[in-house]
């Protein structure tokens, strides 16, 4: 019996990019990295049989087996440290930490070993590890599963801190992170996993260097990253309805910060709002604000505004949590203020 195979229409060069979810993009990126390089393996809590706390690694165990999709005990310090040791001995580990609050149990290994050994050894040993960490609030998980601590990590020299806010970056950042000779931490905001968008395009790989202008504009710069990107784009749309043309810059990398892109945007709009799900005091928003003061002070026509999380441990109750997190409304309000139009 012959089965007629439907003929595939060849994709037109101008075809719409393939759409996928943030979760699937990360999974596909892990899969293709593992197919391409025997040295790559994934380890973390419940990444194997469970399929990952956020189902990112679902199905990978079947394809790659237990050696390479490695379930770990609840031992963040040991398995992150083991990733560091494996990286120093020829492997390319991807270590998943279920929630950023848990990463604190491994902070010793991340700071005292991963970030430090290259310099401390005078360049003898580099640590090519990738650590993926779920971050962010908005899911009513209260004060031990909801924080945005990526700004803390951005304080540490010796590591790179990536914060993918788009589906393209969620998948696309893994390959350059694995190719990097030094530790790269990738913070995936857990609210984004279900979101969809254009899939990474292998023909156009992303980098771990540059910020990206997600929406060009001329009146005010909205600088953000990760889980706040979509709130900020929504805010920009709302501002457009008021006749305010906002530029949205996705920082993408919190370390190194793309100073040139930040300064360029501020030099263009002369007004700036920084949106960060972390706390305001001593956070990445403070650092970005300082860089603007250092690099674009005379471009400013108004003081920088910041929209951050309220300085509280994130509460459980939905309305209380929502009040603590940055929202499009607060971003719009801050932009109006930067433009002297509030009230």
């Amino acid at each position: 019996m012959t089965v007629a195979t439907p003929q595939r229409t060849p994709a037109a060069p101008e075809a719409e990019p393939r759409t996928t979810t943030y979760r699937d993009a990360v999974r596909e990126a892990i899969r293709s990295a593992m197919r391409a390089d025997e040295r790559v393996f994934l380890m973390g809590e419940d990444v194997g049989r469970y399929g990952g706390c956020y189902a990112v690694s679902m199905g990978l165990l079947d394809e790659f087996g237990e050696e390479r999709i490695r379930d770990t005990p609840l031992s963040e310090s040991a398995f992150v440290g083991a990733g560091i040791g494996a990286a120093m001995n020829g492997m390319r580990p991807i270590v998943e930490i279920m929630t950023v609050n848990f990463s604190l149990l491994a902070l010793d290994q991340i700071l005292n070993n991963a970030a430090t050994i290259l310099h401390m050894s005078g360049g003898l040993f580099n640590v090519p590890i990738v650590i993926r960490i779920a971050t962010g609030g908005g899911r009513q998980l209260a004060a031990q599963h909801s924080h945005s601590l990526e700004g803390w990590y951005a304080h540490i020299p010796g590591i790179k801190v990536a914060a993918p806010g788009t589906v393209e970056d969620a998948g696309g950042m893994l390959a350059p992170a694995l190719a990097d000779p030094d530790p790269v931490l990738i913070f995936e905001n857990a609210l984004l996993y279900n979101g969809s968008g254009p899939a990474p395009d292998p023909e156009h790989p992303v980098d771990l260097v540059h910020a990206a202008v997600r929406r060009p504009g001329t009146d005010v710069s909205l600088l953000t990253y990760g889980g706040s990107l979509h709130k900020t784009l929504d805010a920009a749309e709302a501002l457009a309805a008021e006749g305010i043309d906002a530029e949205v810059v996705d920082l993408r990398m919190l370390r190194p910060l793309d100073d040139a892109a930040i300064v360029a945007s501020v030099a263009k709009t002369h007004r700036v709002v920084i949106v960060d799900e972390g706390w305001r005091s001593g956070g990445i928003s403070a650092e970005v604000s300082a860089r603007i003061a250092e690099g674009a002070f005379f471009e400013l026509e108004a003081p920088p505004e910041r929209v951050c999380s309220a300085e509280v441990p994130l509460p459980y109750a939905k309305h209380m949590e929502a009040a603590a997190l940055p929202s499009s409304e607060r971003i719009v309000e801050a932009a109006r203020k930067a433009l002297g139009r509030h009230g």
Binding site: A78, M88, G90, M91
Partner: protein
């Protein structure tokens, strides 16, 4: 748990001389470091290995050049016996760029790629997860190598110790856990910090074969470590050795030693590993007074050369300060060693 009743190796004259020379090299180097500290040539924290030489000297003989070593902040002796040149160790402590880490690590952070010496680590127990990972990489790549991980009794109170022991046992990794029990975590006596002071028993909780051994007897440390290392190398999973030893000097150069009796120190010094070895070999005639003088002279010459090398060393240009925060852009080296 096995009490260390391993048959000691059939001693030859050459073997005896090697053991004694290595212990003397460490002892004389460390004594010189103390003097250099007083002379302010060496700064920072300095932790001397005097009294514990038989552990590193015996244990290191069980390893091959392919194996890896992870050590602690009291690691000058381990680095030296592993094969890191004394010159580069001394230069490192001087902070000179000819040091093994260009003067960036200092006394507590000696690293050496050639001998697979993955560092002094100054976070107590911080090296154990690294050792697990080094061994994991070997297992995943099918290499028959051992990762020897030295740590002190104090480390066994850390969570990282238990996490690492569990992980290594669970994954059947080729790690040799080498616990140097010198009875004090800095100034806190073991009975004041450990619910179980017989540390080799801890390994039982992880179904890990373990020995305890007289850490002042270099023949015993060598024999026991050799047996453990061979078991690890043959795919037997992680093994554990507890060495009962004692630090003769203060914890660091800032320690007035208020926490232990002079009588206790004196009693342990009666079991000085170098003297003990001499006594044990007296009947063999392998180490005559003349031999000892020759070995002492060799050690003294090496120390002298190392000090001269460190003195002649140069300071790294401060323009290099930010180098090696990240790898050099041209891709640096391939890391598999």
């Amino acid at each position: 748990m096995n009490a260390s009743r391993e048959p000691t190796p059939e001693l030859t004259r050459e073997h005896a001389h090697e053991l004694l020379l290595d212990m003397l090299r460490v002892r004389r180097m460390e004594e010189t470091c103390a003097e250099l500290y007083q002379a302010t040539k060496i700064r920072g924290f300095l932790h001397l290995y005097i009294g514990e030489e038989a552990v590193a000297v015996g244990a290191m003989r069980a390893l091959t050049a392919e194996d890896a070593v992870v050590a602690t902040y009291r690691e000058h002796g381990h680095a030296l016996i592993r094969g890191v040149p004394m010159e580069s160790i001394l230069a490192e402590m001087y902070g000179k760029q000819e040091g093994c880490c260009r003067g960036r690590g200092g006394s507590m952070h000696l690293f050496d790629a050639e001998t697979r010496f993955y560092g002094g680590n100054a976070i107590v127990a911080g090296g154990l997860p690294l050792a697990v990972g080094l061994a994991l990489a070997d297992k995943l790549q099918g290499r028959k190598r051992v990762t020897a991980c030295f740590f002190g009794d104090g480390a066994t109170a850390e969570g990282e110790f238990h996490e690492s022991m569990n992980l290594a046992a669970l994954w059947d990794l080729p790690v040799l856990f080498l616990c140097e029990n010198n009875l004090y975590g800095m100034g806190t006596a073991i009975e004041r910090s450990q619910s179980e002071t017989h540390l080799a028993l801890r390994a039982g909780a992880y179904r890990m074969p373990a020995w305890d051994v007289d850490g002042m007897d270099v023949l015993a440390t060598e024999a026991t470590t050799r047996r453990a290392a061979e078991a690890v190398r043959e795919g037997g999973g992680p093994h554990f050795v507890e060495y009962r030893t004692y630090r003769f000097r203060a914890h660091s150069m800032f320690d007035p030693e208020l926490y232990r009796d002079r009588a206790e120190v004196a009693a342990w010094k009666e079991r000085d590993p170098i003297e003990l070895f001499r006594a044990r070999t007296a009947d063999s005639g392998y180490v005559t007074d003349e031999d000892l003088a020759d070995l002492e002279a060799l050690a003294a010459e090496e120390v002298e050369r190392a000090v001269a090398f460190a003195e002649a060393g140069t300071w790294e240009d401060v323009a290099e300060l930010e180098r090696f925060v990240y790898s050099d852009p041209e891709g640096t080296r391939e890391v598999a060693r």
